[in-house]
Symmetry: C2
Subunit: 328 residues, 2 copies
């Protein structure tokens, strides 16, 4: 049994958002969501189960995990230990190539990579579906970072049927996600708390009702390579996530002046003929979705906005995979 | 019959917003709304009906009315002529003491002042209710600028029962509306178009359903002088107006980076112990609601925000009234 294993996993950007749970403890969502993996926003994680170790040792981004991070990672390692029927404590080291907690779904790539690395290190070879179910329990959207390319998370009704599948490979459409990073600060309210608050919005039921039709529009637009149709649907959905957050009790404001400035710019560029559409996560950064032929121009214009600190251009990324170089 | 008359009317800030009509042509709204008149944001309008004149002559803010303004004012003068059974054309001059079209409800004070001045110039003395009904047909929220102080617009079901009444006099509560003006540009999409678009938002029905309870909260908070309760309700309602606008098809974005910056600041001041709550209209400016004891501090802090160009502090204003000095 290999006792050390390394995995690399992409973050993903949701075109239709995951926001609100049917079952918060198991992270069974209220609705299907659709996303694209991001090939330039990855987490690499090495896990080794070591019989001599008397406690899990967790290093994230070069620093010892804080209490909240540690509790979440240990709970996930416990899931893996239960599956593998082992007791050994683990050494875990994890490294993002992008800033954490700032609207790029770092917990998605983190728990996807952790799931793959830890199960392999524990001697398990889970099929994709089981790996996605496992990752989902660590961080909901992590289940979408297990399969490759364009992905749909099937909400399901219980843990065993709530997982993500690839709906098109990375090469299917040369889309780009140009992330305009306006802040690298940790977000004030994490997604887990946001999901919990969602049910206090009196608009949530109407959002969930309306989603079947929007999910179908996004699938059709993806399959037809119809950027205008895709873009309209993803902007609607991004706005709705924030509206549900802002109408939660108490309200959660993820919007910032800088975010609104980038949105205004993207709308102006589009009015000017450039094929670009925005989406947002539960954080301050703006994801600018365009085709590869326009990505350089979108990135160049984004860099000219004074509030934008960094721009990361992502192509559709692949499935979570084993890495060749261990972090320790 | 007096052929020249001048009226002065306050603008008003809505605590519960008017957004969406049951009958757009007659401006019968979907819901009751509640507002406070603003004593430092007024329109003064002089109207003279002149038998020798062969067309209406309309000057707004020192300039001849443009085609859109002219059409709306002439239609309103026609309503007055029909009521008074006169044919004479009018000379109209109107002056705001605040920037037009930038989120301070200039059409509210304008059509309230026009209604009072024109009916008096035409020899009519309408009771408050009839004057409010008349003003409503020029600009919905203008009906709320006819009575004094804190006002509720009773939505009604037809023109004859859709009008505003005072629910408390200006002296009832020393509230202040500190308007942080971040832009004096005309808004891109006027309220009339916004109201029309509202019905395309799939959230509108849920908003209207939830309003009875929120209206009751606002009335209770007003009567109890409970700023925290009032503030929570008005912030919710302000966010919802923008939510309905942003989920209209196509979406209407009134939010600007500057607006979000002022909102962020207000929330930070409040977290810091200052009793201040924000509200927004269909424009870029932020209205900071506080008690008179805190108004100087709120105004001073607002002036320190780099995007804020001007600050106007308003106490509760009175009813539309006749003016002593004519503009011509």
């Amino acid at each position: 049994m290999p006792q050390k294993s390394t995995a690399v996993s992409c973050s993903n950007i949701a075109f239709i958002k995951y926001w609100g749970n049917r079952d918060a403890a198991r992270r069974i969502p209220l609705n299907n969501s659709i996303s694209m993996n991001l090939d330039h926003a990855t987490t690499t994680t090495t896990v080794a189960f070591e019989d001599a170790r008397d406690d899990d040792h967790i290093v994230i981004g070069g620093a010892l995990a804080n209490a909240a991070q540690r509790a979440r990672v240990v709970a996930h390692l416990d899931r893996v230990r239960a599956l593998a029927q082992i007791e050994s404590r683990a050494r875990v080291q994890s490294q993002n190539n992008f800033p954490m907690g700032a609207g790029i779904a770092s917990s998605a790539s983190a728990f996807a990579a952790l799931s793959l690395a830890a199960t392999r290190a524990a001697g398990l070879e889970l099929p994709e579906r089981e790996l996605s179910i496992l990752a989902r329990q660590g961080s909901g959207s992590a289940c979408r970072s297990i399969p490759g390319g364009f992905v749909e998370w099937l909400a399901g009704t219980e843990s065993a049927n709530s997982y993500a599948v690839s709906i098109a490979p990375p090469t299917f459409w040369e889309l780009r996600d140009v992330i305009a990073i306006v802040s690298t600060a940790e977000k004030k309210i994490g997604s887990t708390d946001g999901h919990r608050a969602a049910s206090s919005s009196h608009f949530l039921a109407e959002r969930v009702n309306a989603l079947s039709a929007r999910l179908a529009r996004v699938r059709r637009a993806l399959f037809a390579h119809d950027l205008a149709a895709l873009g309209a649907a993803i902007e609607e959905d991004a706005i709705e996530l924030h509206l549900i957050a802002m109408t939660s009790a108490p309200p959660i404001f993820y919007w910032s002046p800088e975010m609104v400035r980038v949105i205004e710019a993207a709308r102006a560029w589009r009015a000017d003929g450039l094929g670009v559409y925005f989406t947002l996560d539960a954080g301050p950064n703006v994801h600018l979705i365009c085709e590869s032929k326009d990505a350089d121009q979108v990135a160049a214009r984004a860099r000219e906005i004074s509030d934008v600190r960094q721009v990361i251009v992502n192509a559709p990324g692949g499935a979570a995979r084993l890495g060749e170089e261990h972090l320790f």
